[in-house]
């Protein structure tokens, strides 16, 4: 796989060399900090196009330094290349578009096709999408590009409770319409989905992201039944965007070769997301909250919770917005992220005591954007994490400095 990708990249680079005449290269200068609906995020990216070639390319990169400690124990200075992502967009024909997103994480240790879908427009309110789709649960899963955020770490609730970034092979419909100050969008997909690992994994907790380890999910659905993901979103120019989403289906391999192994067990996820820029103050708010329900046999261990909930809220306040250090549209922001996850909502059968297994975090930040597509960010994490028994929380803190930019 790695060799194939390397060859494709080399071929791609060679093609670019052949067209290095910069007058042929056009950069779409999108302000990626502002956008329509979250569902548009896959296309609302800066792309480079080449003359009349119907292919645009783009991508982003994220790298950082961090020094974090937990209860007096630190791993010291860590330099990380979190990810590099490449986008390729192509207008195949009238009302036919293809977009793909290829992600290299941890210096190339993990390579994944996060998105690769063909979109066919029949009407603005009726589009067919097929391929590898990003399930629209919450907002972050679809709108996760690093340069859009003032924080190096992705939100814990989105990545450690919800499985962002979470994509599957599937098909579905989406559409969008607007009238005056209002915009409405919907998405509905059927796709491959989860497997037994969400309640049987080395995290020792119900962990939806565990299913991402199963590379075969793009070929074979563990349950043989579709995962349904649906979302509606409404945006008002003043009041912001609110999204309601659902993702659910049978997650377990309840039969194999026609032989029954277990009863059918469902996972259901509900999420609400919101984002807005407050008038006058220009304060940007974005957040989401989700609830997870998993059918787990009561003869299994309560180590794996049947209910989870959690969410995050980012508040970003621009404090300087003008020419700085030679950059015309530079911005300096103060920001703060609030996060909370309870991975195991409920009480112990044996004692009736509350089950722990929860985390909260506050992360103040300073970010500098020389342009809307590039961000330098300094974050300080204040985190407390309780074990399942509700013992005193582990205290984590430390600085993270990172850069992220579209290219």
């Amino acid at each position: 796989m790695k060799h194939l990708i390397t060859k494709l990249l080399l071929l791609f680079a060679t093609a670019l060399q052949a067209q290095i005449d910069s007058t042929l290269i056009k950069r779409a200068q999108l302000d990626t900090t502002k956008q329509g609906l979250n569902m548009d995020a896959v296309y609302d990216r800066p792309f480079l196009s080449f003359g009349k070639v119907p292919v645009s390319v783009g991508g982003y990169v994220e790298a950082n330094w961090q020094h974090l400690g937990t209860d007096g124990v630190s791993e010291g200075h860590q330099f990380q290349m979190r990810r590099m992502t490449l986008f390729v967009s192509s207008s195949i024909g009238k009302k036919l578009k293809f977009l793909s997103e290829l992600e290299f994480e941890e210096g190339g240790k993990e390579i994944a096709i996060e998105f690769a879908s063909l979109d066919v427009e029949f009407h603005p309110l009726l589009n067919l999408r097929g391929g590898i789709i990003m399930n629209p649960i919450g907002a972050f899963n679809q709108n996760h590009d690093g340069p859009k955020w003032e924080f190096t770490d992705r939100p814990i609730p989105a990545t450690q409770m919800l499985p962002a970034t979470w994509s599957n092979a599937g098909f579905g419909l989406f559409g969008k319409t607007y009238r005056k100050d209002w915009m409405f969008g919907y998405e509905l997909y059927l796709s491959g989905g989860f497997d037994n690992s969400i309640i049987d994994n080395s995290e020792n907790k119900t962990f939806l992201p565990a299913a991402k380890e199963n590379g075969e999910r793009f070929e074979e659905s563990a349950s043989g039944t579709p995962l349904t993901t649906a979302k509606i979103a409404i945006r008002h120019n003043t009041f912001g965007e609110i999204g309601l989403s659902y993702m659910g289906g049978i997650y377990n391999t309840f039969e194999d070769d026609g032989i029954e192994l277990d009863k059918k067990r469902r996972v259901n996820v509900y999420a609400i997301d919101y984002n807005n820029t407050l008038p006058k103050l220009n304060t940007y708010l974005t957040g989401e909250w989700a609830w997870v329900q998993v059918d787990i046999p009561n003869t299994y261990t309560q180590q794996y919770g049947s209910k989870q909930h959690g969410g995050f809220l980012d508040i970003v306040q621009p404090v300087l917005d003008r020419k700085m250090l030679g950059w015309d549209n530079a911005t300096l922001n103060l920001a703060c992220r609030f996060e909370y996850v309870d991975w195991n909502v409920g009480t112990f059968n044996e004692t009736g005591d509350e089950i722990g297994d929860e985390i909260w975090s506050i992360m103040p930040a300073i970010s500098f954007r020389p342009s809307p597509q590039t961000v330098f960010r300094l974050n300080y994490r204040i985190q407390r994490q309780k074990d399942i028994l509700n013992n005193e929380p582990a205290r984590t803190g430390g600085f993270i400095f990172g850069i992220s930019s579209y290219f």
Partner: protein, 399 residues
């Protein structure tokens, strides 16, 4: 431009300050407030093995793919021994099927331990009809290396099976047959082919290797080359954990530090310590023991304060569940070490779950549930003034 010229040097200074990042991170709790951590004086090689064992004990989680179950109690070691401390009713074990020294009569029905949890699609065990049982709360695992190397001669010297000194306290070792994979310790004393066992609530495990092998097998459903029997099928299967991992975990348990007493200079604590001896608690909960030779220098010939005699004592009808192990009577329990007692709530969710099955929710409740050989001490405790009782409890909390 002026503003940023002022601002960016400040950001630069902030960046330089990050060079001393440790200052801005949460500090470590006091060493005496933690149960976990290695023994001082280990060699680099011993520290490396401690770390390997630490990962296997605290971080490795078993799943169905790595051999969990299919019947089990917990998914890893730390589920029962969070922070290397005492566990809670969530992972309390149920043992059943033995009433006397003739052995367990219910091995064919899944004895000696219930695996009360099961992977989806399987049914967990329940106590068979007619079997007596007892529940065992997971113990703290700190300082076990010291207990391992107390000589058999010292244990026998503390034993008084016929109560020759007339203090109402006898105390006997649990004599048992060694599992085939065990070798007698250097100082071992044999009687009729049996050896003194010292670990576990009934002192039915010979050493930390047996404790570890049994825990993998009975608690997590993990077969090893030492005990290759699958708890579900009863058949011999391929090992699901390597010998190296087992050895690393044994080394980890061997070299965990002993709990560090706190507030020892406080007058209440000192008074409580005197009362502890005066009302004869110290006859079983021996304040001081000495190790014999150990290949681990840091454990060899050391004096330590565990507050146990490693012997079995009759604790009376109230604590007699009708179940036993090895040569112990159903009413007999091995004196549990009291070191680290005051830190128990730090690993038990802020509460106390004391005595063998966690039935006592405070130190005082635990004292009042003592009977049998401890009846006199309990009565003397009850006759103390409230202030004296408080001092005694303070002392126990300081351990």
């Amino acid at each position: 431009m002026l503003l940023e010229l002022k601002l960016f040097p400040k950001i630069l200074v902030l960046g330089l300050l990050l060079g001393s990042c440790d200052k801005y991170e949460p500090v470590a709790p006091l060493e005496e407030e933690l149960l976990d951590g290695p023994l001082g004086g280990l060699t680099s090689a011993q520290n490396a093995q401690f770390l390997a064992g630490d990962i296997a004990f605290n971080d490795d989680v078993f799943t169905s793919r790595s051999g969990l179950g299919p019947l089990f109690v917990a998914t890893n070691c730390a589920s029962c021994h969070a922070g290397d401390g005492k566990g809670t009713p969530f992972t309390t074990l149920t043992r059943f099927g033995q009433t006397d020294a003739t052995g367990n009569q219910f091995l064919h029905l899944g004895g000696p331990q219930i695996q009360n949890r099961a992977l989806p699609g399987y049914e967990p065990e329940t106590v068979p009809n007619g079997a007596t049982f007892s529940k065992f709360t997971p113990p703290a695992v700190t300082g076990l290396g010291f207990l391992q190397y107390v000589t058999d001669a010292d244990i026998m010297a503390m034993s008084d099976p016929n109560d020759d000194d007339g203090d109402g306290i006898s105390g006997v070792p649990n004599w048992g047959t060694l599992k085939e994979y065990l070798d007698p310790l250097d100082n071992a004393i044999a009687q009729d082919g049996k050896y003194i066992h010292r670990f576990g609530k009934k002192a039915a495990a010979y050493d930390l290797l047996q404790q570890t092998v049994d825990a993998y097998n009975q608690d997590i459903g993990i077969a090893s080359s030492f005990d290759p029997k699958d708890v579900y099928s009863g058949l011999t299967i391929d090992p699901e954990v390597s010998d190296k991992t087992i050895r690393d975990v044994v080394a980890y348990l061997n070299t965990l530090k002993a709990p560090i007493p706190r507030n020892q200079e406080a007058s209440q604590v000192q008074n409580g310590k005197s009362l502890f001896s005066r009302i004869n608690c110290a006859s079983c909960h021996r304040p001081e023991l000495v190790t014999g030779y150990s290949p681990i220098e840091a454990l060899s010939r050391k004096t330590f304060q565990p507050y146990t005699d490693l012997l079995l004592h009759d604790m009376g009808l109230g604590l007699d569940d009708g179940y036993t192990e090895g040569s112990a009577l159903t009413s007999e329990w091995r004196t549990p070490p009291l070191w680290g007692l005051g830190l128990s709530p730090t690993t038990q969710g802020g509460q106390y779950f004391l005595l063998h099955d966690g039935r006592a929710h405070s130190i005082e409740e635990a004292i009042l549930m003592h009977g049998g050989e401890a009846e006199n001490s309990k009565n003397q405790y009850q006759s103390l003034t409230q202030s004296e009782k408080n001092d005694l409890i303070k002392f126990l909390e300081s351990l």
